[in-house]
Symmetry: D2
Subunit: 257 residues, 4 copies
């Protein structure tokens, strides 16, 4: 870094006395006139919505907003909250847990759709090939199948909203084609889950596939807050699983060498 250069460089926003510019737009003008979804789109894409992208994002955020303590990230946030930490620190522990087996399936599903599309083949053929490659590697098809829901009602509803708002394009078709081929490729039908739907919508919105986890990071924030607050105001401090409930299968008592 040259000594005469600023340490930080950003294209996201500019702060000066009395001014906050976000991607070229005066933040003050956005307050009360633009939805949070619009601003999410602005922050992630660099542009304000021109055809309802903010509404599509709000629907996606609502869909991903809460799934109770069935999500391991929420369990983590509540355990941490019980230990006596500030609200935002407990939320952060939950957010760390939006990992590759959690929110990360959106990235993977979006990458899968991109790879299929890049073959240039007809939709069904591209879907079969893509699913086949996943099967050959012995992996799971990201965005399809769910441990609790069959089908996942969030996926279907998200695609409906995408239709209503004009975002049910070629990425949604490809995602549905993948669903169609699962029975023949994997010998059992795998229904599109919320991550598969979010992946298709991410691409319909023109966002980078590597932003897949962003939906969960943003959407789950208020749910983490609610769980942390409930843990800290309604439950006993220091959540204890109980030593009797732990199964130990290490070495029996032994002397040191």
């Amino acid at each position: 870094m040259a000594p005469d250069q600023p340490f930080w460089r950003t294209s996201i926003s500019r702060v000066r006395p009395g001014e906050i510019l976000v991607r070229g737009h005066d933040l003050i003008e956005l307050i009360g006139t633009r939805s949070f979804g619009d601003v999410v789109y602005l922050l992630l894409s660099g542009e304000l919505p021109v055809r309802g992208e903010g509404r599509m994002i709000e629907a996606a955020l609502v869909a991903a907003s809460e799934h109770s303590v069935v999500a391991p990230s929420v369990d983590a946030a509540r355990f941490v909250a019980s230990a006596g930490v500030p609200l935002q620190a407990a939320v952060a522990a939950g957010i760390i847990g939006l990992g590759d087996h959690h929110g990360g399936a959106v990235d993977a599903a979006a990458r899968l759709l991109l790879d299929a599309a890049e073959t240039g083949k007809p939709v069904r053929e591209a879907a079969e090939e893509a699913a086949g490659r996943v099967k050959d590697r012995g992996g799971r098809l990201p965005g399809y199948g769910h441990p609790v829901h069959d089908p996942d009602p969030r996926a279907g509803r998200l695609l409906e909203v995408a239709s209503e708002l004009g975002f049910r394009g070629s990425w949604c078709r490809l995602a549905l084609a993948l669903e169609d081929v699962t029975e023949s490729v994997f010998d059992r039908p795998l229904r599109m889950n919320i991550d598969g739907a979010l992946a298709a919508i991410l691409l319909e919105l023109g966002l980078d596939w590597r932003l897949g986890k962003a939906f969960y990071v943003i959407a789950r924030a208020p749910g983490f807050v609610a769980h942390v607050f409930e843990e800290q105001t309604r439950e006993r401090p220091y959540r204890d699983v109980g030593w009797e409930r732990v199964g130990y299968d290490g070495p029996e008592p032994r002397p040191g060498p």
Copy 2:
């Protein structure tokens, strides 16, 4: 914990095959029909909005959404991002940093308003007493004054929106009364900043003052995502401040004892 009791208990949501119930409401029905602000309000208060609370929350989230690398939490997220970690982990580092001197001023300002109101005294008198107590303790008045902005344009705009949406009630009046008395109490005018406005709005919405940091935790999530993504896609890995730029004022080289 009795052995026949569930390990987890929550009033926030219920997940069963094909069902996600949030505070008694079917999540599927909320997707595409309710704003994210409505769902934030539902998660935090337990009820869906009845008089525009969701729009007020969206305005608050937009106002708090981005303040560039001038916020230390964003610097933290970018340093961590540069070290090669997944998006959500770098965002989490930023969220941890929404501490008592950052998003925490909303809690403190809301607590100040509550304490003042609980005296039962006329607004101006209550404001003078509250500001006086802070001064006597040698502290800063949380929610007033800003290191960059004078005045902070977000505060004024938020109060305007509160007027438009019918949320400019007694808490806003008390917050403005506090602003009015700063010149006489602190010998210089301290203008309401975004945290002061958020505190008043938090109370107008009937939310618990301890949820003050929630606004920042939720609002900043997309900005953290944008900064982490920019750092990881546009800057060199392993952001290095440069050893020449570090001032060391510890002991000079010395032998061990």
Copy 3:
């Protein structure tokens, strides 16, 4: 900050090409000649040990190193690990959880000892007053009593080691006096736990009471690593509590307003 000043200033260490100076000592000379406990003491106190402080610290770190999944911080780290995140990110989730009800009891217990000592009264009288004040506030006595162990065998062993190494001074005596008065003050004997012993040792070592959590932060790091690694290499990804095991006590299904 003046433009000609370095952005960072630290008295902890200096890095130049070929040189790493820690508190004035050449790091290279410490490698292989000094224990990790010596370096922990150097980093925290600013000085290398002169009378066995490093050995005392190592004993404290060993005592606090592991308490299985009975600690909520470990549960948090394992839930996060199961979601598919890098090792250090899952460990970080655990470390966040070393909160005021966890590692934080060391700070609180050390503060209690300091407050008692500052009265200048005889040991037993000071202990009675200090315990009485805690009881009057309706609080728990930090550092005494344990949900699983009665007594906590780590406390007794740590005091033994303190004797052996010459660190059983006035702070240990005061901590034992507090144990002695619990029966009369709280109507039941509360035995010193590991946090109480760590607090006394912290003060015997001349360290700042606000560093109480440091023992846990450092000591638990390898245990967090072991738990995260075990979770990621031996358990199924995405640890699921099972929706059947969750008790929901929120509103029953209801229509929107």
Copy 4:
């Protein structure tokens, strides 16, 4: 999970009233008789040292313990600390930052050594091939070269200690062979850095290569504590980079669409 099975299963430790068993060893017997390095080895490998592994680990921990604010993880921890959060939460932000471009180079370097060894070829040939593959992929050789130090004095000293303690075996030889071939493969000599030395030592100790980051996670904990404490006790709250120092290269002010 079957309902009659414990929720948690672990081979690391067992807690019962009055008992803490770590990998089969009574924790109480380890306090004051075993070094922290011994216990780190026990936690990570499952066994107590039999030939000085704990001393080798302590040397490695001391070597990796501190590198000032030149490490981005430390900058992150200090920014977060300045925002007013508990000590352990700020440390956690730093630990998140021990990512793939930071502590993660140890994993990558260990993997490189394993891949080279698995070819079964003579050392120099295996080293040339391994370095060549890295070069062909356009990558950096993990564990070699350093932005500040040339050579990194920690690497040489660690290998010396490995000799003294009997851990300078075939993995160290292979690591040195890699250093030797860098000049011919990359057209400039790349000296082994601390990560390369830690990788070799990790394998000499028989530990899993995926534990590479563990050295940094454990070793840096006290340094993070020291930096967080210094930031919170010596510097002004809310570390501010200064808006004048930020370079904005996004769109100029523009109206909304």
